[in-house]
């Protein structure tokens, strides 16, 4: 079977087990039941409100970390307030903003699913994971900064209301772009399979995988990061309310570094995880090739399904 060496890390048969495990794990933690976009419930939104609690696979519940977010945001608000009166140093405030960003990004959101699925779908260098993870986090915060400050200085007043409306529109556009990207990745994966079938290359070797795909990498960064971060937006609004726009910019930057720590971690985990699976394949085996293509297709399908799932509340009449 295949040409696997004696010290091949996993057998072709186990390749199928690994692929099944990846898909099962992805499905287990992927959204189930009723989709409900998480938009600000106090303001009108194009997304319909949820109608009834759904029943799905319960995931980890870490009340202590939610409470930590609550506490750290209150402390951060106090620190901003005091910094305006010279009572607390800016470095301490930035450390709090970093910690809040970190905790905030550890929760669901911030396009971690899209990033993980992308790096499942595309062969990538770890540096690309760092770039994508950091870019999405910074763009996420920068979008909030541009929108909040733009609304504040251009229109004065009704900042939070307008932010909620614009965010919903950007989210809708983001989901549509993610679906499109998923379809493109799916087409690329299928094209690669067809090319291999036409050529004499019918078996897989990890060394043959091409790394580097700037277009789709840019697409995942832009489509994911364009949605402004509501957590950053609220901190910015607080800073503006205290007439501390400069502190707001610094706090947003520190928060985005905290968020980037998580998104970069998720991206690297996906890249190294996939590499771990592929490097464990017996060289040249057809089943190894099946696993390689299977992961790419699974990642692309996951992106499409994710986009459709998140877009669906906006499409319900």
């Amino acid at each position: 079977m295949g040409g696997g060496t004696a010290n091949s890390l996993i057998s072709p048969g186990r390749s199928l087990v690994v692929l099944t495990a990846v898909l099962a794990a992805a499905l287990l933690f992927f959204p189930s039941g009723r989709p409900a976009a998480q938009s600000n419930p106090f303001y009108d939104s194009p997304a319909p409100a949820p109608s009834a609690p759904s029943v799905s696979v319960p995931t980890l519940r870490l009340r202590a970390l939610i409470d930590a977010q609550r506490t750290i945001r209150e402390v951060l608000a106090d620190a901003v307030d005091r910094s305006g009166r010279g009572g607390r140093s800016v470095p301490a405030l930035l450390a709090l903003a970093f910690a809040y960003g970190l905790l905030h990004a550890l929760g669901p959101g911030h396009r971690k699913v899209a990033l993980a699925a992308y790096f499942l779908a595309r062969p990538s260098h770890p540096l690309q994971g760092v770039i994508a993870g950091a870019s999405v986090a910074f763009l996420h915060a920068a979008a909030a900064l541009a929108l909040i400050y733009g609304l504040y200085y251009l229109f004065q007043g009704t900042v939070t209301t307008a932010f909620a409306s614009v965010s919903s529109i950007l989210e809708l556009a983001s989901y549509a772009a993610i679906i499109l990207l998923g379809l493109i990745l799916l087409a690329l994966a299928v094209r690669e399979i067809i090319k291999e079938r036409r050529s004499s290359r019918r078996s897989f070797s990890a060394e043959q995988v091409e790394v580097g795909d700037r277009k789709t990498l840019t697409a995942i960064i832009l489509s994911s990061g364009v949605v402004p971060c509501p957590g950053t937006a609220l901190i910015l609004i607080f800073c503006l309310s205290q007439s501390l726009p400069g502190i707001g910019v610094l706090a947003a930057l520190a928060m985005s570094v905290g968020m980037a720590t998580v998104t970069v971690g998720v991206s690297l985990a996906a890249i190294y995880g996939k590499r771990g699976i592929l490097s464990a394949l017996p060289r040249g085996s057809r089943l190894g090739g099946l696993l390689h293509h299977g992961l790419e297709i699974a990642g692309a399908v996951l992106i499409v399904v994710f986009g459709l799932f998140m877009l669906s509340p906006y499409l319900v009449v």
């Binding site: 939070t160 991206s267 699976i277």
Partner: protein, 204 residues
């Protein structure tokens, strides 16, 4: 195989919805209201966090005096409260008569206290109290988890002084209900609401 398991865990780690992602933090106080027959409803007070408060003041405190006038409250009700009807005001009221989720509330007001904005409104809910005990469970939670809603540490539930009715309550986590929410990126989480279990009885 151990390496493969680690790899699978790494690959799928980004897909896990680990825990909550709230953007608004608020605490609730519930006050029961009686009429001659028994319960006639609940006054609900929400105290919001400082950051949400800043947003409300920025948008609706038009004279920037950090106090909310009647006209400003009317705008808040229209622009930053009325949409909650789509969420049934985050309220879940259960008694022997079944679950009730309000589709309208009355007497909304908003005010500043302790540097935080408060919302207060009345939820009509009639429940006759005859002989024997009447049990009512009230849970307040946002199933999308945009808001993390707790109870005020001091007097989370108030029972009005009455010669006719008396009661007591406990606050406990309802493990029978999951709040299963989906965040912006599709990842999910679950939490369990803390509900007030209220027991009421007629004294005379």
């Amino acid at each position: 195989m151990k390496k493969a398991v680690v790899a699978v865990v790494l690959v799928t780690s980004g897909l896990w919805g680990a825990f909550g992602h709230p953007h608004v933090f608020m605490d609730t106080r519930i006050e029961a209201a009686y009429d001659r027959e028994g319960l006639r409803g609940f006054w609900i007070t929400w105290r919001f966090d400082k950051v949400f408060t800043a947003g409300i003041l920025m948008d609706f405190d038009s004279d920037k005096n950090e106090r909310l006038s009647a006209s400003e409250v009317a705008v808040i009700e229209d622009r930053a409260f009325s949409n909650l009807v789509n969420y049934r005001y985050f309220l879940y009221i259960r008694s022997a008569e079944g679950q009730y989720r309000p589709s309208s509330v009355e007497s909304f007001t908003a005010y500043m206290e302790g540097g935080r904005v408060h919302y207060r409104f009345f939820v009509p809910y009639t429940l006759p109290i005859g002989q024997g005990e009447v049990k009512v469970n009230i849970a307040v939670y946002d199933e999308t988890f945009f808001c993390d809603i707790g109870y005020l540490d001091t007097a989370p539930l108030l029972l009005p002084a009455s010669d006719t009715f008396s009661g007591e309550y406990t606050i406990r986590e309802d493990r029978g209900i999951h709040i299963d929410y989906t965040a912006n990126d599709g990842s999910q989480g679950s939490t369990f609401p803390r509900q007030i279990a209220l027991t009421l009885r007629r004294e005379h």
